[in-house]
């Protein structure tokens, strides 16, 4: 395609790129700092690129060991939250969309009302409850409350409502039970939306700060965001080390996002907006 370079077009591109650079600068500055030797970090006026880049901050951060443990915890927690949320919500959405049972409307109404409940206001009683159940400092204690996502049930139910019944009727003729219909008809038909909400659930669980912050006290049970904020692994002058741990803490999802960007953008279109 031939492009004519009019002024507005050029200005738009320049503006877009400038904005992108502005958005990347904080990340690059963190990376830059993490490669400096410690004394250089507190020099004023500030230095731009380190004279002698060093990975010393990274090796001391990794030597302290906790970061790897938190990385493992975050992975376990995020996988469990994402998997369980999808399974439980798909089942519930199917139940409300495709089956009839007494009290269905009332229950669905209750769940819709649950969308309004901000989890943040429940931290105090929820912590008390976890204490009673003995779930403080356990994976289940971190995971289970995050699985309750009424909005997910709502979105998926609406999506299922839009799927023609012809498909399941056909499956039923072949002798499929409702249980099988869920997994071999509804789930495959809603793959893009499930991928999108799955990715966002994963990001949300990986980055969730408040609840894991409340329910974990033992540093060896903390997730990355909580551990980074609460546990100190180095002492003295340590800006380079702090930035190194920030870079390491942020990197996994940045990489995942770079790989899946296409699905994220497309999935949002499928999932949300029309709701």
């Amino acid at each position: 395609m031939r492009t004519t370079w009019t002024f507005p077009k050029v200005a738009t591109i320049v503006g877009a790129v400038l904005l992108a650079v502005l958005w990347l600068v904080p990340l690059l500055w963190a990376l830059d700092t993490s490669l400096k030797p410690e004394p250089e970090t507190t020099r004023s006026p500030i230095t731009w690129l380190p004279a002698a880049p060093t990975m010393a901050a990274y090796s001391s951060v990794l030597d302290q060991g906790d970061l790897i443990r938190w990385f493992f915890n975050s992975t376990v927690v995020s996988v469990l939250v994402t998997g369980l949320t999808l399974v439980v919500s798909v089942l519930a959405a199917f139940g409300f969309s495709r089956t009839r049972f007494p009290g269905r409307r009332v229950l669905f109404g209750l769940i819709i009302a649950g969308i309004l409940v901000p989890p943040q206001v429940l931290i105090v009683p929820l912590f008390q409850e976890m204490t009673g159940l003995g779930l403080v400092d356990t994976y289940w204690g971190i995971v289970l409350p995050q699985v309750v996502a009424p909005v997910m049930v709502f979105v998926l139910k609406k999506f299922f409502d839009g799927i023609s019944r012809d498909y399941e009727d056909a499956a039923r003729v072949d002798g499929a039970t409702r249980w099988r219909i869920v997994w071999s008809v509804m789930v495959p038909m809603s793959r893009p939306i499930l991928v999108a909400v799955g990715i966002f659930t994963f990001i949300g669980a990986w980055n969730n700060f408040l609840w894991p912050f409340i329910v974990t006290t033992d540093p060896s049970m903390m997730t990355i965001p909580v551990g980074l904020a609460n546990v100190q692994g180095s002492y003295g002058l340590r800006y380079a080390q702090i930035m190194a741990s920030a870079v390491l803490g942020g990197l996994p999802l940045l990489i995942v996002y770079a790989l899946f960007q296409r699905h994220v953008v497309r999935g949002v279109g499928d999932a949300g907006i029309k709701g």
Partner: protein, 314 residues
């Protein structure tokens, strides 16, 4: 999963075949409940129960320290209404919401308009704008506290290099909230950007082709077609953003710890402080309930406004 079965099931069959086999009335009547049961169980245990027990606790002097619990009646509630810190932290939450929502909507829209292009440039723009959103709050705040650092931070380094006076962003009462808002916009605007982008990509190309034939230039297309078509998306984004901003805690707790002089302390942090740092579970529960009510009112009002406009538009 079982994608390969799809071609098979898409062959349409007569509707009548859907009638379930008779003879299993119990299963037919109650069977659906099994599908919703796992969710309902979790919903009851981790949402309904804490809502009830929180209300219960708000009438007691429940303490984290586990000392004997006594019934207080409405004493916690009375204390709350007379506690200036409750109202100042609620005000901080509202100020944060008012300051953060407009840029989070407008910048997101601008970004979506700029990044709605194909090719490598489009990919790079989308990556840059959204990337901060995937970072955990702690990583974001570590980076920004470092950027705002007086003496050797990036912002102040640039200010002094440009001949301006340093600003101690996070320790100055009328600057700290602004600093938090800037960080928040940088961090979370990507989500709204994505919603706008998806909406933009949903506008059929024919609309623009038709407009071009009618001789509409770029600016006319933007103001006469694109923006009006995005108005529903904007409504949705504003609703989501307001409720999200009201729940502010992470960034402020991590960047300023509510300071300086409590000038940024949001209501959730005051709840946290009372309940956990000062062990006053009962009192914290009462404040939680008041704030819960505020959120519900805001959400319902918006829903009214939003759905009212939608009906009017139809």
């Amino acid at each position: 999963m079982a994608v390969q079965t799809q071609p098979q099931v898409t062959t349409s069959t007569p509707r009548t075949a859907a009638k379930p086999a008779a003879g299993q009335p119990w299963k037919e009547r109650w069977g659906g409940l099994f599908f919703v049961a796992p969710f309902l169980l979790l919903f009851a245990v981790f949402m309904i129960w804490p809502i009830i027990s929180g209300l219960w606790n708000s009438f007691f002097n429940t303490s984290l320290a586990g000392v004997k619990q006594e019934f207080l009646g409405l004493q916690n509630w009375r204390e709350m209404f007379g506690d200036p810190a409750v109202w100042s932290s609620l005000k901080n939450t509202l100020v944060f919401t008012a300051m953060s929502t407009p840029p989070l909507v407008i910048i997101a829209l601008v970004m979506a308009l700029l990044a709605n292009r194909k090719g490598l440039l489009g990919w790079l723009l989308r990556f840059s704008y959204f990337a901060p959103f995937v970072l955990p709050a702690t990583v974001v705040t570590l980076i920004w506290v470092w950027i705002y650092q007086p003496g050797f931070g990036l912002v102040n380094g640039l200010l002094t290099a440009g001949g301006f006076a340093e600003i101690d962003w996070l320790n100055t009462e009328n600057r700290a909230m602004l600093a938090v808002v800037i960080t928040t916009v940088w961090w979370t605007v990507g989500f709204n950007f994505l919603l706008y982008l998806a909406a933009l990509q949903g506008i059929p190309a024919q609309v623009y082709e038709a407009a071009a034939i009618d001789g509409a230039n770029g600016r006319q297309q933007l103001f006469r077609i694109t923006l009006p078509l995005l108005s529903r998306t904007t409504g949705l984004i504003v609703v989501l953003q307001l409720v999200a901003s009201l729940k502010i805690f992470d960034q402020i707790y991590l960047m300023t710890n509510g300071g300086p002089n409590f000038a940024t302390r949001p209501i959730i942090q005051y709840i946290y402080q009372n309940g956990f740092t000062n062990y006053r579970i009962g009192y914290a529960s009462a404040i939680s309930y008041m704030f819960f009510a505020v959120i519900v009112v805001v959400a319902v009002l918006q829903f009214r406004l939003f759905s009212g406009r939608k009906e009017a538009g139809q």
